[in-house]
């Protein structure tokens, strides 16, 4: 088991800086949440660890998992790591699975690609489907994706992600497309099987039910990080504070707290503190970018809460 260590990870598309100087580490067995609204850069962060960035988008900085580099290495090397060292479950299980292939064969395929003999792969595929608690795994292995429900398809995706025994599992909004009752089972399963977990979501309550540590992203930067209970009960960054307030549904007839304005499109975030054009506490000081500081519980804010 190995630790993921990300340092100074930046992602750019031409002149646009989409993710800036992101650093974090995930130890074996640890469950870390990455939260933020759409456009915050959380999915790009994950895709750069998987070597799956779109054509014109490039990552810089370092990310090491068990002594191997994940960022800035050629595709020929990345494809050996992807699936074996680090693997990912995406939001939409219908588009991630091949509709023309039986699901057992899809689970087996990722193992044969990494050198498992075909016959062994078939057998292990059934065992994996059993491990993600699909009833009658041998029968499910012969099914096509459209014959399964959304929750079952997401379990198949999880089986595929686990097939080569990766050291790190990344889940990007794995339950957003699922009903709440199915979501609950899926979250319990992820928690049970993940070797180490980077869990991406916009849903604060979901992240609180799975993770012990959290990174809050906004405008391509990590603005706050720390133990989840501490960050969620005593947020320091004004964005985290606003997000938590907005997530709490007050009784009927009362006003819901809101964050003014909306998340700007990529490249339109203000310089300095990225949140300052929506922040009720912003002053001219915020025109300079605050650094992420603090041991354990860190935040990047000139006028922190609390």
């Amino acid at each position: 088991m190995s630790t993921l260590k990300v340092e100074g990870l930046s992602v750019r598309a031409g002149a646009l800086e989409l993710v800036r100087e992101v650093s974090f580490a995930i130890a074996p067995g640890e469950r870390v949440g990455l939260i933020g609204e759409s456009g915050s850069g959380k999915s790009l962060t994950a895709l750069s660890l998987m070597g799956l960035l779109p054509e014109d988008v490039t990552a810089s900085g370092t990310a090491r998992l068990g002594g191997r580099d994940l960022v800035g290495v050629p595709e020929s090397r990345v494809k050996d790591l992807r699936g074996r060292e680090v693997s990912m479950v995406f939001q939409e299980p219908m588009t991630a699975l091949n509709p023309l292939m039986r699901v057992g064969a899809q689970v087996a395929e990722v193992m044969t690609l990494h050198g498992t003999p075909r016959h062994d792969a078939r057998e292990r595929a059934v065992a994996l489907l059993d491990r993600v608690r699909l009833p009658e795994p041998a029968q499910v292995a012969r099914a096509y994706p459209h014959q399964l429900s959304g929750g079952q398809r997401q379990r198949v995706m999880l089986a595929i992600a686990l097939a080569n025994g990766p050291g790190l599992l990344i889940c990007d909004e794995p339950t957003t497309a699922l009903d709440v009752t199915v979501q609950k089972q899926m979250l319990e399963l992820i928690d049970e099987v993940a070797p180490a977990l980077l869990f991406i979501t916009h849903d604060l309550a979901v992240v609180a039910s799975v993770c012990e540590r959290v990174l809050v992203m906004y405008g391509g930067r990590v603005v706050e990080s720390g133990p989840i209970r501490e960050v969620f009960t005593r947020p320091r960054h004004r964005y985290t504070e606003g997000l938590l307030a907005a997530s709490r549904l007050t009784p009927r007839g009362t006003r819901l707290p809101t964050i003014q304005g909306s998340v700007p499109p990529a490249g339109r975030f203000p310089g300095g503190c990225v949140f300052r054009n929506r922040c009720p506490h912003a002053t001219p000081t915020c025109e300079a970018a605050p650094a992420l500081t603090g041991e354990g519980h860190a935040f990047a804010c000139w006028h922190p809460a609390g």
């Binding site: 709440v180 009752t181 609950k184 849903d203 309550a205 819901l256 964050i259």
Partner: protein, 266 residues
């Protein structure tokens, strides 16, 4: 609020809707899917009525029937005392004037080639009503600047697009606003803005609100009455606080247990 507040406005009784799957055999018809089974409900004037259910529960089918966008296989729906199920479109004008809908995804419900001015005025044009200064007035009501009228939907954020969809729904001065998952596609920081706006409009205009959601905690914030649906049936209905505090049906209990919450942390 109108003086006749509290009288029944929408009354559905014994609604059934059966769909047929495409046939897979030459000799037999396709399998029947019972999307709605014997559903009855009453929505009163001025009420905020929530409908909660997961995918496949029948909530969308029910909504389409209430809006006369589909016909029930059997059963009746009365709007303000008039039967609407099975009526031809040309005899539904009173319903189209009085009941308007806001959909979940403002990207697909707004025609990208139309300017906001024309989008908002569209229901008025369709009903042959004069637009006049109504568009400017409506944009102000939903918190958008007058210049928004000359722009296209893609120039707005998700929350602003939902404001445009709400302005359009309010154009013919309806009595009932039906909102189908209106905040599900929005970021958390914007969700509150739209829920606050809906609450204000419902109060100011004395609207009756039908609010469909998969999220019982959102319904609890918005509505006073809720109907919980599962497998085509209403399994529980009543004041939302009662259902939240003491769910009677096993399905509602399961649903409430499954909702992730931050409450434990506070």
């Amino acid at each position: 609020m109108p003086s006749h507040a509290g009288t029944p406005l929408v009354e559905a009784s014994g609604l059934n809707r059966v769909y047929h799957r495409p046939r897979t055999s030459l000799t037999r018809p396709g399998a029947a899917v019972h999307a709605l089974r014997d559903v009855s409900l009453t929505i009163r004037r001025g009420e905020r009525f929530g409908i909660v259910g997961e995918s496949g529960s029948g909530k969308s089918t029910l909504l389409r029937l209430l809006c006369a966008l589909d016909r029930p296989t059997s059963g009746s729906i009365r709007f303000d005392g008039q039967e609407i199920s099975g009526r031809p479109e040309k005899r539904l004008r009173f319903l189209r004037e009085n009941l308007q809908i806001v959909f979940q995804d403002p990207m697909s419900s707004l025609d990208p080639r139309m300017r906001v001015r024309d989008l908002v005025a569209e229901p008025l044009v369709a009903l042959g009503l004069p637009a006049g200064d109504r568009v400017k007035e409506l944009l102000a009501d939903v918190g958008l600047p007058p210049e928004a009228a000359d722009r296209y939907p893609h120039q707005f954020s998700g929350g602003q697009r939902q404001r445009i969809a709400i302005a359009r729904a309010l154009a013919p001065r309806p009595q009932v606003l039906v909102a189908d998952e209106p905040v599900s596609a929005l970021d958390v920081s914007v969700r509150g803005q739209i829920l606050n706006l809906l609450a204000d409009l419902v109060d100011d205009l004395g609207l009756t609100l039908v609010f469909v959601s998969h999220d019982l905690s959102v319904v609890r914030h918005v509505c006073e009455t809720v109907a919980v649906m599962n497998a085509g049936e209403i399994v529980e209905t009543g004041p939302v606080d009662d259902v939240w505090e003491a769910p009677a049906h096993p399905y509602t209990q399961e649903l409430l247990r499954a909702v992730p919450t931050l409450e434990g942390l506070w």
